[in-house]
Subunit: 214 residues, 2 copies
Amino acid sequence: MEKEISQAVIRRMPRYYRYLGELLDDGVERISSNDLSARMRVTASQIRQDLNNFGGFGQQGYGYNVKYLYDEIGNILGINQRHNMIVIGAGNLGQALANYVNFEKRGFVIIGLFDVNPALKGTCVRDIKVRMMDELEAFVKKQPVDIAALTMPKEHAKKIANILVDLGINAIWNFAHLDLELPEHVVVENVHLSESLMQLSYNFANYKKLTDKK
Amino acid sequence: MEKEISQAVIRRMPRYYRYLGELLDDGVERISSNDLSARMRVTASQIRQDLNNFGGFGQQGYGYNVKYLYDEIGNILGINQRHNMIVIGAGNLGQALANYVNFEKRGFVIIGLFDVNPALKGTCVRDIKVRMMDELEAFVKKQPVDIAALTMPKEHAKKIANILVDLGINAIWNFAHLDLELPEHVVVENVHLSESLMQLSYNFANYKKLTDKK
DNA sequence: GTAACAGTGTTAAATTTTTCACACATTGAC
DNA sequence: GTCAATGTGTGAAAAATTTAACACTGTTAC
């Protein structure tokens, strides 16, 4: 099997995808790694190296066809294949995810929203009904669920993650502030907002310090 | 001035902080890089190297004092100094941030919530009043604002970011799906949820492919 | 058709990041 | 007090990532 591609590369792919999408909207047909690098503020070399992990999508003397490259990166990232998602935790964050229609455009369809709060039972976000946790098992067994987003407080996240994995869900988008310890075959992507905020805080404090010293 | 510390290191610091906080809650007084590395699933070497960027916090033969190290990392990250934040965009995501009380515990206090939707005018999230955008300037001039979180659709983000910078705000927590082009002295931390989801999607698809091949 | 140009894919170099290894300071048992 | 054990700080090695360089292919203008 081919060599594994590093997460550093994978992390950049969605950004290429975003820029190519914008170029496409602007009616741009072709682009060179050089032009793209100027827009994205990365080196052209990195763009070429990154793309070449997946194959040669460009052509000497021409550059890259925007539409073609856009689609290819989409395929690589598994976009436009349908992914059924559920969101556990129907608080503001869960609702924000449920309301974000662009996910759906890309094939990530939220088909269920779950919570423990009985007050939310039966309410809807967009056309997605909020269900109680005791309905989870039957729900998952009735229809395939690819990805579960965890937006509940961290106290419950561990237990629920285990339940989800037992139900056969192998991809978890974790917004709870803890590291899930799950079997190796389960893919976890963490979004730790408070850690992101702390990084901002550091850079902010540090930049200030630098300038103060001058 | 000392050599700059890489973002790779900074990104890990909040995680150390989190684990140390948990140890503290569990009443653990001291810990070695080795024990911590086992819990965090990173190498002990990396922990020691990371910490040594900021100074020697440990002691040979003893390890690290949990409380002390916790506080020191807090200082490094600028936690527990008060940071006034405003959130632009009072949709679900903005409200989710406003409702998240742990930010406040760490010194990140959301003092204002702004939106363009007149229907939200005067409503409150926790005790934070939602204000209209035309009140922004007066608000910012009346009290210091350190950080602005941008949770509005990307169409407006660019313009608003510029306004914020003109008003003297130098740290932006950007949730909009675009890259802000701001003066160099402005610190931006991006949270691109759809890119995170695509990364999950890639890893999910790729893991499946790997196992299918076996 | 041809020649100058543009621009990829790719190999190699440079840089950054991570891991290893160990000298030496401190601890804790006796 | 002594001595084995522990465990940091750190310099050096290894690995990974990023950038540079360029041979060579396809493009475009004439």
